[in-house]
């Protein structure tokens, strides 16, 4: 029994954080919003970091890592509100293809030449797919209509929900950081607004929500990696906890920013909108809550002193 994440896994995520914060800052979001909203140069950078091949088995030219590693990195993608479809292609589609023995495209995906847009019936759309465009509130999200061939495989849903949850945690963390920074520089009544307890307590509550969403996320990723029977319950749990943290963080961050936060000029809105988008994606809040209900109150999941990690 060991609930800690191994230091080398954290180091990799740390390296990705440094890389992403250097190449995908807020100015990139604004540039992408003004023009074509994908950038081949940024994609190439992700490829060179090895991220497109993170979950591709080594004999297909990838790094062969696990879902916990991918979740750690998806969280970093959330922190910068990454626009490129890395998570859906490399962290959702790839493990699904591998699980289904469909290995023909894996080498090309790892090498960055091919992107896969996973389509699941529970989503009403495909992100970064081909077809008639749908308009998302998130200006950097490219949605198209759902094809008739969309899957209803529960594993694909779990993978999508897990990676959405991971990004939501990162988004929530980034919004909290922005709110804290702003609270230090904005002065009213002769002092930084962050000195007021009403503001402090709001952000402290976001810190609490995140502190107790993160371990749920890691536990869900590990459960899916280990393919334990209840993995999908834990993914639902992670999705709900991350969604709640992201909504709370967004609402608190905008409040702390005041009217400034209500403008398109302040970057915060990119994170908020991505958060709303991912909160409903890969199974709505209600869907995942119902799933938890059925398992816990419905009694299909064992609960008792020895079942903390069941």
């Amino acid at each position: 029994m060991d609930m800690l994440i191994a230091p080398e896994r954290l180091e990799l995520a740390e390296a990705v954080r440094d890389f992403l914060s250097g190449t995908h800052g807020p100015e990139v979001l604004r540039r992408l919003d003004a023009g074509p909203n994908r950038d081949p140069a940024i994609w190439q950078g992700l490829v060179e970091m090895g991220l497109t091949g993170l979950l591709v088995p080594q004999d297909h030219g990838g790094l062969g890592m696990g879902l916990l590693d991918a979740a750690l990195i998806a969280r970093e993608c959330g922190r910068v509100a990454l626009a490129e479809p890395l998570v859906e292609s490399a962290f959702v589609a790839v493990p699904w293809l591998v699980a289904n023995g469909r290995t023909e495209d894996l080498a090309a995906i790892a090498a960055g030449g091919r992107k896969v847009a996973p389509a699941h019936q529970l989503n009403g759309w495909v992100a970064d797919g081909e077809g008639a465009a749908l308009d998302s509130i998130d200006p950097l999200r490219n949605l198209t209509a759902l094809p008739a061939t969309a899957s209803n495989d529960p594993l694909l849903l779990d993978l999508g929900a897990l990676m959405a949850a991971a990004q939501l945690v990162g988004l929530a963390e980034a919004m909290l950081d922005q709110a804290v920074e702003y609270s230090k520089i904005r002065t009213q009544f002769g002092q930084p607004v962050g000195g007021f307890q009403a503001i402090k307590h709001k952000l402290a509550d976001v810190a609490v929500a995140l502190e107790f969403a993160r371990p749920v996320l890691w536990r869900a990723a590990q459960a899916l990696d280990d393919a334990i029977e209840s993995a999908s319950l834990h993914v639902s749990h992670a999705k709900v906890a991350a969604t709640d943290a992201a909504y709370l963080s967004a609402e608190s961050a905008i409040q702390v920013h005041g009217a400034m936060g209500y403008t398109y000029e302040v970057d915060l809105h990119f994170w908020m909108k991505r958060g709303w988008a991912l909160s409903g994606a890969w199974g709505s809040h209600a869907y995942h809550l119902r799933h938890i209900d059925a398992a816990i109150i419905g009694g299909t999941h064992p609960i008792g002193p020895e079942n903390t990690f069941a």
Partner: protein, 387 residues
């Protein structure tokens, strides 16, 4: 990350379960907030200690089992899962004990730890004073040196279990004219020392759960001071960290409450509201999240790390979770919620639990104070004025 228990851990769980099954009282004890219930709980502590289960992480030399924190978490899951009583001994074993291990002299360890683990001496905390609640550095009670004794004068209040307990520990001003955090010392005292008067205070539920303590020229030997004279604040902060952090609030207790709540929901499913269903599912989610977090923190401590201001996040989370679960139960019970005893004779322990849960966000440093700590020390937000 390795989320399966080792065979050794599973065997330990089985051993704990067997022992508890043979020893946990069949009928629930009276509340430890009344005199008779207090003595029942003390008897239970002694029984636990007879099997060396008083504090499993303590060294065997002091009556423990020298186990690690993961084994302690397993013990706690089983303990609460078996419906075993609240720990009347908690101030000693969870708060003062670890503080003595860190700051005590060999003689103090020898003198205090074994009787503590054995349940022979029950401890009360004496920090708060009428004018010093959240602002603990405002304490006024003095302990001035007279040869090899301190002479204590003043008043403490809201001291849990002090109505019946044997010993107390707390902060006293040992330097004449000192202000705030300076000039304070951490002193242990026998509650039966001449000059100590206890006045029990009735709590919300009507029981004399805590007491005011009046000190009138109370003489306490200097060797009862923990750490150096004037170093009391530092030591007290260590104790407060234990209180907010891991020890006192093991996840097993909240997980057991969540399971009872799920059971209660099933009994009331027909008249329950859809939002109650969600609240019940959330009880499971949040207690699980709390458990995962605690297991991770335990692993971090075992790997040589420590917890600092994160203990404040913990305190806010468990106390508000506990209140929310009990509030949900009150709603599920509907009209029956007001009964102290149900028609079938069972105690309404949800009501007792709800009243008790209301104190969680107040004691161990109120949640407003914890949010201040979180904002200033973890988020690095500006400190302004006294806030």
């Amino acid at each position: 990350m390795q989320l399966a228990y080792t065979p050794q851990q599973q065997a330990f769980r089985a051993e704990v379960r067997t022992w508890l099954a043979g020893h946990v009282p069949a009928d629930p004890l009276l509340t430890l907030e009344c005199e008779e219930g207090y003595h029942q709980h003390v008897a239970w502590e002694r029984q636990l200690a007879s099997g060396n289960w008083g504090m499993v992480t303590w060294p065997e030399a002091y009556g423990g089992r020298g186990l690690d924190l993961i084994e302690w978490l397993i013990f706690e899951e089983e303990y609460w899962g078996a419906g075993a009583p609240l720990r009347v001994n908690q101030n000693g074993i969870f708060l003062l004990g670890p503080t003595i291990m860190e700051y005590g002299t060999p003689e103090q360890k020898e003198r205090f730890l074994t009787p503590m683990a054995a349940g022979e001496k029950i401890w009360a905390q004496a920090w708060s004073e009428p004018g010093a609640g959240s602002d603990m550095a405002a304490i006024k009670t003095t302990a001035f040196r007279d040869g090899d004794h301190y002479v204590i004068n003043g008043q403490k209040t809201w001291s849990s279990r002090a109505s019946f307990a044997d010993w107390g520990f707390g902060l006293f001003r040992t330097e004449e004219g000192s202000q705030r955090h300076k000039g304070l010392s951490f002193i242990l005292f026998d509650l039966d020392t001449p000059g100590v008067t206890r006045r029990p205070i009735r709590q919300l539920h009507g029981h004399p759960g805590f007491a005011e303590l009046f000190f009138d020229d109370v003489r306490v030997p200097v060797e009862n001071r923990l750490a150096g004279e004037g170093e009391g604040w530092k030591v007290a902060m260590a104790t407060a960290g234990f209180e907010r952090g891991l020890m006192l609030r093991s996840p097993g207790r909240f997980q057991a409450t969540a399971r009872r709540l799920i059971e209660l929901f099933r009994q009331h499913e027909r008249e329950a509201s859809p939002s109650a269903r969600e609240a019940v599912a959330r009880a499971w989610m949040d207690t699980q999240a709390y458990a995962y977090n605690t297991y991770a923190v335990a692993a971090k401590i075992m790997a040589g790390g420590s917890i600092g201001a994160e203990a404040s996040l913990n305190k806010i989370f468990w106390s508000e979770l506990d209140r929310a679960m009990h509030r949900t139960a009150m709603h599920l019970l509907g009209a029956a919620a007001e009964l102290r005893q149900f028609a079938d004779g069972r105690m309404n322990d949800w009501l007792e639990g709800y009243m008790f849960s209301l104190s969680g966000p107040i004691y161990a440093g109120s949640n407003e104070i914890q949010r201040n700590i979180t904002a200033e020390r973890l988020l690095d937000m500006p400190r302004v004025g006294a806030g």
